[in-house]
């Protein structure tokens, strides 16, 4: 049974029934799914949730499907890892990593949103699905569309990493590279769905799609023993994830699953080469000045983030802050996480780690804050961004190995 009451414009409040819609027809504001929270509170208890198998669907009362999901059944339930070794490096005593680098099926948090969107496309009986993507979303839409038996059209900027292209084409999708940056691709997609009866997950399926991101917050709250963290560092591209993490925790509070979220502060992370939301936060504003992205963090390279306005506002009102990281700092962040916690993240994760480090240095995050870093994607996707020293090559002889050791270790 569904608790969805309909869609509601976040700007002007106009209500809509559940339908395929990119935004409000009056003011073009984004649409939010509206739920019957009192009804949910009656049936959706800690015990019920804890008794269900690990996946995003254990929170299905707060997701916008009318029927049982048929694809993406194993998505979610990623580890919340205590990160003491990284914490010592950063100066945080109480640090956790939410590790969506191991998300099923395509190794990024986008699996959460596409699982919801593609199931919704099946409910709407759409002929085809698609998306505008900088890579991770492309992988995930292609995989879940294949699993659902739906044709897919995936439009990407023509400068993407080869690994993300291959990891999309393999699913038999129609992959189309568009000359231009993500914002140009996005604009084309909105014109495509204007003309064809397709469901583009981040365009006309967006109100449903975006709800999937809330599950990251639900899982963190449950994994922490039913509480909100004090601080959370979230990478931002369009600004949707950070806004949905906030919504997710507020919903848990409203339903009575967690006590209060007063201490919870949101921290946004972007690359210095594409930081329009950070810029707004630092100006004390919500108004986004679009930029032309230039960064190795291509998964975050959205120069005109439409949820930026909300992201900047939520960061400020939560008492948080925002910082950006340069390309070398991003690479250092990737290496630091790998070397301290054994987690290999993509460039967006490098941004998150590097920004967390700055926020501690600035005193924004205190050493005793219960802090969670959102690690949203897998390092195998952005190998091109790394230039590591090649391995030493030796003869297959013990003496050659011992030359490498340099006499540091004693013979056993």
């Amino acid at each position: 049974m569904s608790f969805v009451r309909g869609l509601k414009c976040r700007e002007c409040g106009r209500a809509y029934p559940v339908e395929l819609l990119a935004g409000c027809g009056d003011c073009f504001g984004p649409l939010e799914v509206n739920y019957d929270y009192d009804g949910i509170a009656n049936v959706f208890t800690r015990d019920v949730i804890a008794s269900r198998p690990k996946s995003i669907w254990k929170y299905r009362e707060l997701l916008p499907l009318e029927s049982e999901p048929v694809i993406g059944l194993s998505t979610g339930g990623t580890p919340l890892m205590r990160a003491d070794r990284l914490g010592r490096k950063l100066g945080i005593e109480n640090l956790y990593i939410k590790n969506d680098a191991v998300s099923s099926p395509t190794l990024s948090f986008k699996d959460r949103v596409t699982a919801v969107a593609i199931n919704k496309a099946l409910e709407f009986k759409l002929e085809a699905v698609g998306c505008a993507s900088t890579g991770n979303l492309a992988n995930s839409v292609a995989a879940n569309a294949a699993a659902a038996g739906l044709p897919s059209f995936i439009l990407i900027p023509d400068n993407l990493e080869q690994s993300k292209i291959t990891a999309t084409s393999i699913y038999g999708t129609r992959l189309i590279a568009v000359k231009g940056n993500y914002d140009a691709v996005n604009r084309l997609c909105s014109q495509i769905v204007d003309r064809y009866p397709f469901g583009f997950v981040n365009v006309n399926l967006r109100p449903f799609y975006a709800e999937g991101s809330k599950t990251m917050a639900y899982e963190i709250a449950e994994q922490l023993g039913w509480r909100a963290p004090d601080a959370m560092v979230v990478p931002m591209a369009g600004g949707s994830l950070i806004a949905k993490v906030h919504k997710g925790l507020k919903e848990f509070e409203r339903i009575g699953l967690i006590k209060d979220t007063k201490r919870f502060r949101l921290y946004g992370a972007q690359a210095s080469g594409c930081n329009p939301i950070i810029d707004a936060v630092k100006r004390g504003s919500r108004d986004i000045r679009p930029v032309k992205p230039n960064t190795i963090a291509k998964s975050l390279a959205i120069g005109n983030p439409a949820d930026g306005y909300y992201a900047a506002g939520l960061i400020a009102t939560s008492g948080g802050w925002a910082e950006d990281a340069t390309d070398p700092e991003i690479v250092d962040g990737i290496q630091l996480l790998a070397e301290t916690e054994g987690v290999f993240t993509e460039t967006a994760g490098g941004v998150t780690v590097a920004v967390a480090q700055k926020l501690v240095q600035q005193g924004k995050i205190k050493p005793y804050d219960l802090t969670v870093l959102a690690i949203t994607g897998n390092g195998l996707k952005t190998l091109d961004a790394l230039r590591l020293a090649p391995p030493q090559v030796i003869e297959p002889k013990l003496a050659a190995f011992e030359d490498v050791l340099g006499g540091v270790y004693r013979v056993a």
């Binding site: 003011c27 997609c189 014109q191 365009v203 591209a237 439409a306």
Partner: protein, 92 residues
């Protein structure tokens, strides 16, 4: 200057469903002026009270966001394509 304006679905209620409208104009501001006199109420749906573009509306001239140019003062050349596109979030 004669140019074509692409009208998105939510605004076609003003243009009786027409997607491409030809207008004579020298700047983006004049494009909106012309559209508003042709289709009363058009401007109020894309601009706020102060006359600036609404937050969730983008206007592109030959693919370039006018926010990177001179906003509503941006000059438009003969034959240019002006696209009015509601912003959508996305990502990654």
């Amino acid at each position: 200057m004669s140019l074509k304006v692409v009208i998105p679905t939510p605004l076609r209620k003003f243009t009786s469903g027409t997607e491409l409208v030809e207008v004579e104009a020298r700047t983006v501001q004049e494009v909106l002026d012309t559209l508003d006199s042709k289709y009363p109420g058009f401007r109020a749906s894309v601009c706020d009270e102060s006359g600036s573009l609404k937050r969730f509306i983008n206007i592109y001239i030959n693919g370039e966001d006018v926010r990177f140019l001179e906003n509503l003062s941006t000059r438009v050349n003969d034959g240019a394509e002006v696209a009015i596109v509601p912003a959508i979030s996305g990502g990654r």
